[in-house]
């Protein structure tokens, strides 16, 4: 096994269990909430929404926090039953949920092989966002200056004092021989406010390479999540420990396990061990894009626009979710522009292939022509062997259980990497060769690996977006559905309903010869006699 194969094997070994975990979580959440409102596969946008909640609640708490009396002012806030108590609790719980959502989001992207290549900036900025978010959380706990805040401050000071930076130990601030200067709490407060600004910049960087970034969850997920957090904040106010006392040794403290589970470990091991572990972990996270990268070949080949077929219609740059395609002047004598794919930005989703009417762009083996060739080789013979079968085009993320169930129901299953790269001619070809109907089933729109696959598919099939399904195709025989993990019954019900609807129509007739992808030579320019 050569080095490349070894690296690929290691990558798969890391991603496979992650994928299994993500699929299990998705299946469970889909069963409970349905794929439309599943918060798990909207973990990234949920984290952003929680940042907004944290900002709003934080601004309120800032009105009442006093740097000169940190513990007393927070105790006063917590004692206010009308607003202060639950706003403070909401701020606390939103912090924990933000960290959980961000980690889930990272796990999901890693499991779906979306952490390398053009996505490495997003990954690195994501690591930065989580890291800064954690530091911001710690400064927030220290602000309250209860026993937990004190413990966090003392442990953090011990870590800094192990470094040969400051000659005076930071820990002396908390020793008790002198009052803790207000400047400490002021700097802490300043950091707590400034770090979210850095996170705003980090978020901008995080989505800078994405076209049309979606930053917040659907309205229902957003408001139900907020309502749930408010409810638990009212019913279970966040605990505030006793005020910090440098001369007291509490046997235990209330500790936030989500953000600070490392504290009891750091107290028991030498500081340099903690530093090494932390730096090692952060380095490993930043190296993930390198560890998970693939060769840009096969399924990972970037798209290519064939100059022979490109008509310069400008559709593929509009559809590309990664802004990897630009229109540039041609080098030949044709008057139109030419699509040019930047391979460093292309993630090989193939959505451009579905956008191109002349089938001139796409990753190798996924262009419109390649799709038709594959259809003719694999599916057309099978269609011919049955009477008006239903063709189900599903994406690579469709659970195996659903595919097997479809097979048992007599469907002809045709897999594509993403329904967003399905060329509408595939649908037309299937029907014109005798398929009773074509059901295209993709991932939930908010969970599409290609980001905008289901959205563009729907536009191309039913709303005349290039490359649109031709008007001559009977729309009654075409339907779009969503197949999600854990939604087997719902998915099969959609198939059965489609099949029933199809059965009510007259039987389709198969055409002997269907030519949708004939290549024509470009029409030469007329030369004017002068």
């Amino acid at each position: 096994m050569n080095a490349t194969q070894e690296r690929v094997s290691l990558t798969r070994a890391l991603e496979s269990p992650a994928r299994a975990v993500v699929r299990l979580l998705d299946a469970l959440a889909n069963r409970v909430y349905g794929w439309r409102w599943n918060p798990v596969h909207q973990s990234g946008v949920l984290a952003v929404w929680l940042l907004i909640v944290l900002t709003v609640t934080g601004l309120y708490l800032l009105l009442f926090y006093r740097v000169g009396a940190p513990s007393a002012s927070v105790a006063r806030i917590a004692a206010d039953p009308w607003l202060g108590s639950w706003v403070r609790s909401l701020h606390r719980y939103a912090t924990d949920l933000f960290v959980i959502a961000a980690v889930l989001h990272a796990l999901r992207l890693f499991a779906q092989a979306r952490s390398w290549g053009p996505r490495r900036r997003a990954w690195a900025s994501g690591v930065f966002l989580v890291g800064v978010g954690l530091v911001c959380a710690w400064t927030g706990f220290v602000m309250a200056w209860d026993t937990f805040g004190q413990r966090l401050a003392i442990t953090g000071a011990a870590l800094f004092d192990a470094l040969p930076i400051l000659s005076e130990p930071v820990g002396r601030i908390f020793a008790g021989d002198r009052a803790i200067p207000s400047a400490f709490f002021f700097i802490n407060l300043f950091a707590h406010i400034a770090l979210p600004l850095a996170m705003g910049a980090g978020l901008w960087l995080h989505v800078s390479k994405v076209a049309r970034p979606v930053l917040t969850p659907p309205r229902r997920v957003k408001w139900w999540a907020t309502a749930g957090l408010i409810a638990v904040s009212v019913l279970v106010p966040a605990r505030l420990g006793p005020a910090a006392d440098p001369f007291s040794l509490p046997g235990s403290t209330p500790l936030d396990l989500v953000t600070s589970a490392w504290v009891p470990v750091a107290e028991r091991v030498p500081p340099l061990v903690t530093w090494s572990a932390a730096l090692g972990f952060v380095s490993l996270m930043l190296l993930v894009p390198r560890l998970t990268r693939r060769r840009r070949e096969g399924a990972w080949s970037p798209s290519y626009a064939d100059p022979r077929h490109c008509t310069g219609c400008n559709q593929c740059p509009q559809d590309c979710p990664w802004e990897a395609i630009t229109m540039v002047p041609r080098q030949d004598d044709r008057p139109t522009l030419l699509a040019l794919v930047d391979p460093t930005l292309c993630v090989s989703c193939g959505i451009c292939a579905g956008s191109c009417a002349p089938m001139g762009v796409g990753p190798p083996a996924i262009t419109g022509r390649e799709q038709l060739a594959r259809l003719r080789a694999e599916l057309v013979p099978a269609i011919g062997q049955r009477s008006a079968p239903i063709v189900v085009v599903c994406c690579a993320q469709t659970p195996v259980s659903i595919r097997k169930a479809l097979g048992r129901e007599g469907a002809l299953v045709h897999e594509v990497s993403c329904v967003g790269n399905l060329h509408s001619s595939v649908v037309e070809l299937s029907i014109r060769h005798g398929a009773g109907g074509v059901l295209i089933a993709g991932c939930p729109p908010r969970d599409c690996v290609g980001r905008e696959g289901p959205k563009w598919l729907d536009q191309r099939l039913f709303h005349d977006r290039e490359a649109e399904l031709q008007a001559r195709v009977d729309r009654r025989r075409v339907r779009v559905a969503t197949f999600a993990p854990g939604c087997d019954a719902e998915s099969m019900a959609a198939f059965v309903a489609f099949r029933s609807d199809i059965a009510a129509f007259e039987a389709p007739s198969a055409e002997a010869r269907v030519e949708l992808d004939v290549e024509c030579d470009p029409v030469p320019l007329a030369v004017e006699d002068t």
């Binding site: 000659s167 008790g176 638990v232 279970v236 040794l249 209330p254 936030d256």
Partner: protein, 207 residues
């Protein structure tokens, strides 16, 4: 969503959020039950061990005006042996020195020792390691002050500064030898009183 699914979703969400709330403030052990702590914390300037020699008039005249000092001194900051003994058992014996890469900064001390509660005999000694004293500084009133001598004020300032610096520095030997009752889950703090130039204990926030 069907009514049943709504109920399941609400219950699941409630369980998840309650788990979140519980994990947000879980009691975790910090200090051993009933243990006490002896904490040393102070900042003080170590004594400067210097060798000084008076400059001759010729040497002074050869220097620029702002460098015509009476004495020229070279030296380093002292280091100290810290020994902490509880009921005769040596809990700590180490060398402490000024901060910074060249040990030329003030001495910052922060140490903690777990002690079983009860009445204990505490002996804390901070002993200068350097045996040689600095060149004695002339008393203030012996500084030559001839009428009309342009360097008279400067010499007086020099002497005054050196005396103040010597007074502000740690003495060569500090000793705290006392019987202390260590209360459970409480800290006894030992710190350096700069005014009295001796070690003292403290048990609670006096501010």
């Amino acid at each position: 969503m069907s009514a049943a699914r709504v109920v399941v979703a609400v219950v699941t969400s409630a369980v998840v959020l309650l788990l979140l709330a519980a994990s947000s403030a879980t009691d975790v052990t910090w200090h051993d039950d009933e243990a006490s702590e002896l904490r040393l914390s102070w900042t003080a300037r170590p004594e400067r061990i210097e060798e000084c020699r008076p400059l001759t008039e010729q040497e002074r005249q050869a220097r620029p005006l702002h460098m015509r000092q009476s004495f020229e001194c070279t030296g380093h900051l002292a280091t100290y042996d810290l020994t902490v003994t509880i009921d005769g058992d040596v809990r700590a014996s180490e060398v402490v020195r000024g901060g910074g890469a060249r040990s030329d900064r003030p001495l910052h001390l922060l140490r903690s020792y777990q002690i079983a509660p009860g009445a204990r005999h505490l002996r804390l000694a901070l002993q200068r390691r350097e045996v040689v004293d600095s060149t004695p500084i002339p008393p203030l009133d012996t500084v030559a002050a001839s009428p009309g001598d342009p360097n008279a004020a400067r010499a007086a300032l020099e002497a005054r500064t050196r005396h103040e610096r010597a007074r502000a520095a740690l003495p060569p030997f500090l000793l705290l030898d006392t019987l202390i009752t260590f209360e459970p889950s409480r800290v006894v703090l030992v710190t350096y009183d700069h005014e009295a130039r001796k070690l003292r204990t403290s048990r609670r926030n006096e501010r």
